[in-house]
């Protein structure tokens, strides 16, 4: 791919893109996304040539332990790499989020004469990107939104790992993108003038995203492997490299050769970049004088998008309040904090009324360039767009859907976790408690399967106050994504004068209701809606002379981060009679209950019926908790 796309990269990096190699963080740089991440060396080569902090030594360390040139581009590892790519379609999709960030920020900050936010998002995309469904979802939405700042170049090489695209891919890509309302152009991928003209035309059409279909050949220049699928995933081999160099009239040695005149030509990017950023900085200086409030807000958002005084606005809920679903409490939190958080932006994959994610009184993204995004029935697109928004570093993106449909967006969640992006997921309808929609809509394994993912924090609050604290934890977590797992059904507000404070959420698990003298013979542990069963069961057990402790465990990840001492306080090693109760699969709960404990969980798919019937049939009753607890104590005696 680096050989295939060299002409395109040359034109983009030497003539078209605005960037400053000395400051890869310059906010108004054009973004470059190598969606075809397997061609990472193309990006590394351009970064090296144009003077980013990436040496020839780094290039020689390609795909080696802790090198700055890993197999696929990794965000945070290499200066100038805008995002991690490799899983196909993700770069394409995140670019759409980047373009939405550009539009949102431009609307927030640009003022007449002050286009302080004004950049393009370029991407190189491959056949694989085009085949993945996520690209279709985001392309449709990008066309709908008219994201004119997107300029995607499609490497139409007609080769995949298995062979010619004739094997699998004969659609008319151009026509498809026209149907999405994109500007579509076709160029020869080696016609420098043609490429530049096409990009210029793409830049001029600010009402539509642009797709430039560049006819290219894989391993271009290799006499025997050009246009061959053998060149897709495997190196050319020493002999073919030599033949290729001969074919291109390039010196055979040394292996890594950048002729001085080539380097000095590319390194003009340094001076050009300095000048480009300076002009912008000058503009921004005038902007700061003319619009000091906006500039202050700009600074604050870029320093830390949650560093505004929002915490005091978090709602508090009282036991006297009517029972409230945690999804509804979450909606109340959003409504309370959004006036204080200019970077808050998000929405739902067509379930806003159910997810309680709409920010009332705030603008819609399409109509007003406001923070309310209608993602459509496109969960995977939503996931990747949230990543693209988060990469702005100035925004706080959130997205909602039913917990069960987190499956649709899992590859994007994984990238958020891998990049440690502070994205917030609002996953509602978190158990069989969603009732009649039945097993296709009832999550069973989803919370567990997300708990298995590194860097992802999951919070399943037990009541409205835990929900407020869960949002606080999510907003304060700048080290990775957070998933809020919320009920459809109403839950009582726990009486915190009687029980442990909801602050405990921040420790992941905490003693909600202790046994007399803090000396339990039995620990009841659970999360979310099931915590209420535990509290009631504790009372019943007490009348039977059994001293039980109730632990509310909204977040395993936060608990994991606590000191050994704290963990021992909550779950003393000596107390082995432990019963976990959660309306999800048992998988993973052995971490807390060990070999001697027990669980009340759901280890099968759900059923279509009213939620109260389901909870009863699946054993989520106070009576069953009491019974299981007593059985467990007997077993452990």
């Amino acid at each position: 791919m680096p050989m295939e796309a060299s002409a395109l990269a040359y034109v983009l990096w030497s003539r078209l893109m605005r960037y400053n190699p000395a400051n890869p963080q310059w906010s108004n740089r054009d973004r470059f996304v190598l969606s075809a991440g397997h061609g990472s060396m193309l990006l590394y080569a351009m970064l090296h040539l144009t003077g980013y902090d990436l040496s020839l030594e780094d290039l020689k360390n390609f795909r080696q332990w802790k090198s700055r040139t890993p197999g696929h581009p990794e965000y945070g590892r290499t200066p100038g790499v805008e995002t991690t790519t490799g899983p196909l379609g993700q770069g394409f999709a995140m670019g759409v989020g980047m373009a939405m960030a550009e539009r949102f920020m431009a609307n927030l900050f640009n003022r007449p004469g002050f286009p302080v936010v004004d950049y393009f998002i370029y991407a190189l995309v491959s056949d694989g990107d085009m085949m993945e469904g996520i690209s279709s979802e985001t392309a449709s939405l990008a066309g709908h939104l008219g994201l004119g700042k997107l300029i995607y170049i499609y490497l139409d090489n007609r080769i995949t790992i298995e062979g010619s695209t004739d094997l699998t891919f004969s659609e008319d890509v151009g026509k498809r993108f026209e149907a999405y309302n994109w500007q579509v152009q076709r160029v020869d991928g080696y016609d420098l003038f043609g490429i530049e003209d096409a990009v210029n035309r793409a830049q001029k059409d600010l009402s539509r995203p642009s797709l430039i279909i560049a006819r290219t050949c894989i391993a271009c220049g290799s006499p025997n492997k050009e246009n061959s699928c053998e060149a897709h995933g495997a190196p050319l081999g020493a002999e073919e490299v030599t033949l290729t160099k001969q074919n291109c009239r390039w010196p055979e040695k040394p292996d890594f050769l950048v002729p001085d005149e080539v380097l000095s030509f590319f390194r003009r990017a340094i001076a050009r970049g300095k000048e480009t950023e300076s002009s912008w900085a000058y503009l921004f200086k005038e902007y700061r004088e003319g619009h000091p409030d906006l500039a202050a807000r700009w600074d604050a958002m870029h320093r830390n998008p949650q560093a505004f005084p929002w915490e005091s606005s978090l709602p508090k809920f009282e036991p006297a309040d009517k029972p409230i679903a945690t999804r509804a409490a979450s909606g109340r939190v959003l409504a309370a904090i959004v006036p204080h958080l200019p970077g808050l932006i998000g929405g739902s994959a067509d379930l806003a009324p159910s997810n309680n994610t709409f920010l009332k009184g705030f603008g819609e993204f399409k109509k007003d360039k406001g923070p309310n995004i209608h993602f459509g029935i496109r969960e995977h697109a939503m996931g990747a767009i949230l990543n693209g928004l988060a990469l702005s570093k100035a925004l706080i993106p959130y997205g909602g859907t039913f917990l069960v449909f987190s499956d649709y967006m899992r590859p994007a969640i994984r990238l958020a976790a891998l990049m440690k992006l502070p994205v917030i997921y609002v996953f509602t309808h978190d158990s069989i408690g969603l009732g009649e929609d039945g097993p296709t809509h009832q999550p069973i394994e989803h919370t567990a399967s997300m708990r298995a993912m590194p860097n992802l924090t999951i919070l399943r609050p037990a009541d409205a106050n835990e929900t407020a604290e869960a949002w606080r934890a999510a907003l304060l977590n700048r080290e990775g994504p957070t998933a809020l797992v919320l009920t459809r059904q109403n839950l009582p507000v726990l009486d915190r004068s009687r029980y442990g404070s909801a602050d405990g959420v921040h420790k992941g698990a905490y003693i909600l209701a202790d046994a007399p003298n803090g000396n339990p013979e039995l620990i009841l542990i659970g999360s979310g809606s099931e915590v209420h069963l535990l509290v009631a069961a504790q009372d019943q057990l007490k009348t039977r002379g059994i001293a039980a402790r109730v632990v509310s465990a909204p977040s395993w990840e936060l608990f994991q981060k606590q000191s050994a001492e704290y963990k021992e306080t909550v779950l003393p090693s000596r107390t082995r009679a432990r019963l976990a109760v959660e309306a999800g699969c048992s998988f993973g709960w052995e971490r807390f209950v060990g070999l001697d404990g027990d669980t009340i969980t759901v280890d099968r798919f759900g059923e279509s019926a009213p939620d109260k019937v389901l909870f009863k049939e699946f054993g989520f009753t106070v009576d069953n908790v009491v019974k299981k607890a007593e059985d467990l104590l007997k077993k452990n005696k």
Copy 2:
């Protein structure tokens, strides 16, 4: 939706589709897929009206505990329901698999004058289906393959849950599908003649799948909620139901009314269906006489697609053989069994050379209607197509990709598990052992996250012979999907004269190498490539006087199914010093090691480097296993 699509359903069920209400299993019936599964009552109503075994009482039990009319159609629960739908896009996509099954079976069995396989796949699809990426993936592939038996009717109602599709969805769907090489027609969704004409034209074009865009209105007939998003997910309410009945000049009472003349009109389907199946049965009788071998094969495949003498052909591997990756061993298994299994069909999402999934010597699906499918870079499509193929009940579908990309197909895997379909996944490159491609391609949490899913059996074999047994287990498992989790890197073939037999795979976990006298002070347990570390560590521990048992645990699900006695034999309760070693996350391993054990696992994302470097850096060395084991024994003393 039932109100919206009533005219379409009427035309399809009363005039166009061939089916036999008395025998929903008749192999040559037309398939009807309600991709917009939330409109389940439309399907239930048609099944009731046309005389399937579904009573008015069943309809009254809509969405109630254990009823045959759950919130979304559920395969296996209701006669005439071809597949479970609800998660949007899945029905659309599974229909493509059904059409591929039709083509494959037709090629296997049809002979001049004997079109014993010849049916259409009809689907009603919604805006939501159209927005989901999986539909794009499968539509592109269906167009590429020219699946002319597909006839999809798109309910173009321009309403979603959040409001008008103007909010999110303005693409030109027809043009997009033309770009995919579909026949596209537009009709008024209430013009009975127009609908019939369009379907007739769709039936006639056997070289292209067909999309009929039917302009419809949601809640058609309701005076106040027609064309309103309020009608999407919520009932009309008693008052509006009354108004609607008045509007349609329908008696207000009783609530469930089927006038006799309506019922007798629809129930003509019973006689029609009997006649239709009879004609086919007559044809098949002649076919049986003319082609007895084919008919016998047909019978066998339909009775049980794996009931052929394939087991004896499974390859055996010897310790003297060169080390071999389990993915390569899997390829050897496929090559050995395919001549014996006429129903075997599958391929890879463009990674066949890496997944070792290509059936050499057998035809390609597109060119020859053979069993080798090139899915393209479309994992999610692959997952759903495998489901569609499995729904034929005569085929054994399998699909390969890198384990990390199982995330892309998770919603389809979930449906396979929910429907208990015998689909086989070949997930290779199963750990950091894939090396240089780095964290985007290295699965960490995937095996664990799949272990959390009900009905899914996962097998991670430790060597080539376990791989053969894993395939045996997968093929014998007709109660749900099976995922094979295989290495990229070579592994030695374990000497079974010294160690436990690979048959142990079928018990999920077994004693591979026991402590002297079967009396371990320590248990080393693991799966896949890490088992070899355990065996070597056991030897070293022995020299230090420590009696360790090595347990190979390729499948937690199979182990779970064993008797308590067997489990106790393998993992005696008294032995609490247990060390689990797996190159994946620790999540879930506490099920085996409890609160007193330990793990050597990967609880962070991977790195780009050669696999040997990674295994060392991540602690997967014999020395580290020995050290951790010794530490553990100390702790437990």
